[in-house]
């Protein structure tokens, strides 16, 4: 399958997952396009569309928590940022994704 059609397929599949969780694809189309490109490349390499912004390890259990969309496994963290770590997904009410920051979980927990 060529990259463009796979990107479309991932978008279709992931939309169904993120919608009930209160998320949507970022309005930053350029970012979305870049990230989906990376996911297609990661999928070609590993057979799995991993998050392009988190590191893989040797542990399957850990790796399965960063398969896109990984929102279910980082809900508290992402809900606090109103976006996923990559910024591919944002809360449905977000109109300006540039205002949202990457905040590590340690800082969120520390208040």
């Amino acid at each position: 399958m060529n990259a463009e059609s796979r990107k479309k397929a991932l978008r279709f599949l992931f939309q169904k997952v993120i919608d009930p969780l209160g998320y949507k694809f970022s309005p930053d189309e350029e970012l979305v396009d870049f990230l989906l490109d990376q996911e297609v490349i990661l999928e070609q390499k590993h057979g799995i569309p991993y998050c392009p912004c988190q590191g893989l390890t040797k542990k399957r259990e850990e790796n399965m928590k960063i398969v896109c969309p990984c929102i279910p496994f980082h809900r508290e963290h992402f809900d606090a940022m109103k976006r996923c770590w990559c910024g591919l997904y944002v809360h449905k009410d977000v109109t300006n994704p540039d205002e949202l920051k990457q905040i590590p979980m340690t800082e969120i927990k520390g208040g």
């Binding site: 970012l31 870049f34 990230l35 990376q38 490349i41 990661l42 392009p52 912004c53 988190q54 590191g55 893989l56 390890t57 040797k58 850990e62 960063i66 770590w85 990559c86 910024g87 920051k101 990457q102 905040i103 590590p104 979980m105 340690t106």
Partner: protein, 87 residues
């Protein structure tokens, strides 16, 4: 101040981070985690988990300070850059 960062070749925020330092003419070293051999990755991940409890990139070290995520305001603050630094 020495600047070093752990990045991923696939992560747009890592690219933005590198661009921030380039644009402000601040030299830095970096390691693209995903392009390193597995045994080296293991060591890096161990360090990262100690720092932030997660495998999220980028991780930027400015001197003794560690900043997780793309955060130009914080980089500027730690570097003592004037407001209006190129983000």
């Amino acid at each position: 101040m020495k600047v070093f960062m752990y990045t991923l070749s696939t992560c747009p925020w890592c690219r933005k981070t590198k661009n921030f330092f380039k644009s402000n003419n601040i030299p830095f070293d970096y390691v693209d985690y995903d392009l390193r051999p597995e045994d080296e990755q293991e060591k890096i991940m161990e360090k990262m988990l100690k720092i932030s409890g997660a495998g999220s990139f980028p991780v930027v070290m400015i001197g003794e300070r560690v900043i997780v995520g793309y955060n130009p305001e914080k980089y500027s603050e730690v570097l003592g850059l004037k407001k209006g630094a190129v983000a």
